[in-house]
């Protein structure tokens, strides 16, 4: 597994632990159930904490706790299961979460573009993924028709900018 954050390949910084694993020192990502069961003791650890949501675990369940998390990891059990795209958008657009949203699980190169647009800023990818592949996949399309969680202008707004500029040029020529 490789980790890409904001377009850069970086070292793994969090340890993902399971439901019954002993907690190592340092930053950890815990399953939602563990967060819900051990919330108080996890907070007192004073190390960065992440939580992982499985497909079907609605982010509403962590909405009130978001301040505690450095990472929210959203699982793709298989690339076809696209629930986490909506979860990411809720975290970004609705809940105003500004920490890291990480895609984990079956994260394939042909999906990077969609993930980044939905507000994922970290992707856990297969070892064969190179910076070139990442750039190519994320940069597949210059323009986007619809607004999403990134700050790309939509084609609609670009068209209106162009039209306004043309109007100004006409006015100046008159």
């Amino acid at each position: 597994m490789k980790l890409i954050k904001n377009g850069k390949f970086v070292e793994q910084d969090f340890v993902a632990v399971g439901a019954d694993d002993a907690l190592p020192d340092g930053a950890v990502i815990v399953p939602l159930e563990r967060w819900e069961a051990e919330r108080d003791s996890l907070i007192t650890r004073n190390t960065p904490i992440g939580v992982k949501l499985e497909s079907g675990q609605h982010p509403e369940r962590i909405r009130e706790d978001l301040d505690h998390f450095s990472v929210v990891a959203l699982d793709f059990p298989i690339y076809r299961n696209g629930r986490a795209y909506s979860y990411a958008r809720l975290l970004r657009d609705r809940y105003g979460y500004e920490g890291e949203v990480r895609a984990v699980g079956n994260v394939l190169q042909d999906q990077f573009y969609f993930m980044v647009r939905c507000g994922f800023d970290a992707l856990e990818v297969q070892d064969k993924i190179t910076p070139e592949v990442f750039e190519q996949s994320v940069g597949a399309f210059t323009y986007a028709y619809q607004p999403a969680a990134d700050d790309r202008p939509t084609v609609m707004s670009l068209r209106h900018r162009l039209a306004a500029r043309a109007d100004e040029a006409r006015a100046a020529a008159d």
Partner: protein
């Protein structure tokens, strides 16, 4: 017609380049067929029984003459000289070679066409009324909002991996020619009591294994809010739709399981939140910009009487049948809507040769403002033909074997590709449609029977829309033998209904006789002016049940 600008061109070109790279990786063996599958499915490329199949998007069924000529060229150059028009108003090529697909996509892009989102679990090609812009009672041209939806849904990052495929249809008239109530989302353009134009929204309709009629959850969605509303429906579905069972993944199952009221509540809640952000607000000037592309063509001021037309009708019986049956009233005096049947007697429903495509393109160019429509019933439509030109159009169609006067009659059947092409099918569909077509070939008899729609599917996935055929035929496999189950009373119009099962299934040999008996019972039972569906609604299935199986 809509025309691409630099932004639309850029997206389509970049998509072709991306796919070219992916195909190269596949041909080099860098990726396996398994890994290639999700990629090709995002580009309309299926692996069928014998070969790849490429599905080309025809947005809301509208084509220019130039585009149709290009489709003909591609059919000649890369396929076997024909294409197949589908119930989603698209065109399929049945025999492309994988290595040629990037070149085909290049050719399509040169005429502003593509294969984007014609397969996969995403928002598919939006379909609409083939009479758009020509129908008398239209509230607003449905292509305007269809184009807005096309753009919003193209490469939508959140909704490209839905639980299942997702189909949207739009109708701008009360008479529904777009089958909106058997779509995942159906949009009816309406006017409210203040005279404002907005949208009624139906969700959860669909055919397949579990046919359902859509439920109205949006009574009047204002124009500016339509995309916000659609995004709300899609998000509720994307998060809550089932993903554990392929056959329970469509939105209709979600709506059925939680109920239409709960669906409405969740959508309203999500809609209110999305609306607050304003990000999807659709400004009037954007609607106006797109509307300008669909402005009326330069109609002439004509009188509605056409003496020469009446004379031609009197002189030529074939032409008289064709005018009566294949043309429809136009909003402008002196004009008519022309339906071109792709259902020749004994032919394959929806197939069209390259030469026929060229012939239709030439007619559209000369007589119908350079554009044409594909219908979801697998026919073509020239929307704006002067009545004075009808004879010339008919003669040219006749020369191209395209003048069969059977639109909406018993031989105007919908059929899926079935076991002749499709690897999901249990039984053949096309030969069944052909046998019925041959049996009822006599045009006088067809006219006497009147409107009667027979739809045939080769398996329960229902691509041939059998549930909504006045007579529906479903192919099933019983221990290696093809059997055909018959339903009656289905309808896909504004009075949408799912057909009722008649009784035990028939063999292929029995089917034409069974249809014959059903028709006879109708003819014996009908009252003045009743179509088959009217009689069926009046008398129900019982008289058919009692009499069809008599001789068995």
């Amino acid at each position: 017609m809509y025309r691409y600008d630099e932004f639309d061109h850029s997206l389509v070109k970049e998509r072709v380049e991306q796919f070219r790279g992916q195909v190269a990786r596949r041909l080099d063996g860098d990726i396996t067929e398994d890994e290639f599958k999700p990629i090709r499915l995002m580009n309309g490329l299926y692996l069928q029984l014998h070969a790849y199949m490429l599905r080309v998007a025809v947005p809301y069924g509208t084509l220019s003459s130039k585009q149709l000529r290009k489709l003909a060229d591609i059919a000649r150059k890369y396929d076997r000289g024909y294409g197949h028009f589908t119930t989603r108003q698209n065109l399929q090529y049945n025999w492309p070679a994988l290595k040629d697909v990037p070149a085909i996509l290049d050719e399509l892009a040169s005429v502003e066409m593509h294969c984007i989102q014609t397969s996969g679990n995403c928002i598919r090609n939006v379909t609409s009324d083939q009479y758009a812009g020509a129908a008398k009672d239209e509230v607003e041209d449905p292509r305007i909002i269809s184009e807005v939806i096309r753009q919003w849904s193209t490469f939508h990052p959140e909704f490209s991996f839905l639980p299942r495929k997702f189909k949207i249809a739009v109708s701008g008239t009360e008479a529904d020619r777009a089958a909106i109530k058997v779509h995942d989302i159906g949009i009816q353009i309406v006017t409210n009591d203040k005279g404002e134009v907005g949208y009624q929204v139906y969700v959860g309709g669909g055919l397949g294994r579990t046919p359902m009629i859509g439920k109205k959850i949006g009574d009047f969605v204002p124009k500016a809010d339509l995309l916000a509303y659609l995004e709300a429906v899609m998000r509720v579905y994307n998060m809550n739709g089932r993903r554990d069972n392929l056959y329970k993944s469509r939105i209709k199952i979600l709506v059925h399981e939680i109920g239409a009221e709960e669906m409405q509540r969740q959508v309203e809640e999500e809609f209110a939140e999305i609306r607050k952000t304003g990000a999807l607000n659709l400004p009037q000037d954007e609607i106006d910009r797109i509307k300008a592309y669909f402005a009326d063509p330069a109609f002439e001021d004509l009188s509605d009487d056409a003496a020469e037309l009446d004379a031609a009708i009197a002189a030529d019986k074939g032409f008289a049948h064709w005018v009566k049956n294949n043309t429809a009233a136009h909003k402008k005096p002196g004009y008519a809507i022309v339906n071109i049947s792709l259902k020749p007697i004994g032919g394959t429903p929806g197939d069209c040769s390259a030469d026929q495509m060229d012939a239709v393109a030439a007619l559209a160019e000369k007589y119908s403002f350079d554009e044409l429509r594909v219908t979801h019933e697998q026919n073509l439509t020239l929307a704006h033909v002067r009545k004075a030109d009808l004879k010339a159009v008919y003669d040219a169609l006749k020369a191209a074997d395209l003048a069969t006067a059977n639109v909406n009659l018993i031989t105007d059947q919908i059929a899926c590709p079935g076991l002749d092409y499709c690897n999901l099918a249990n039984a053949r569909s096309i030969p069944i449609a052909q046998e019925i077509s041959n049996r009822f070939a006599d045009i006088e008899r067809q006219h006497d029977i009147g409107e009667l729609k027979i739809n045939t599917s080769g398996c329960i996935n229902a691509c041939g829309h059998h549930h909504v055929g006045h007579i529906g035929i479903l192919g099933v496999d019983k221990k290696g033998v093809e059997y055909y189950q018959v339903t009656l009373g289905g309808s896909a119009d504004e009075n949408t209904a799912i057909g009722d099962i008649l009784g035990p299934a028939f063999t292929e040999q029995e089917i034409p006789d069974a249809i014959e008996k059903i028709v006879k019972i109708y003819l014996d039972t009908r009252q003045d002016g009743e179509r088959f569906i009217d009689t069926y609604r009046r008398v129900g299935i019982q008289p058919f049940k009692e009499n069809v199986y008599e001789a068995h």
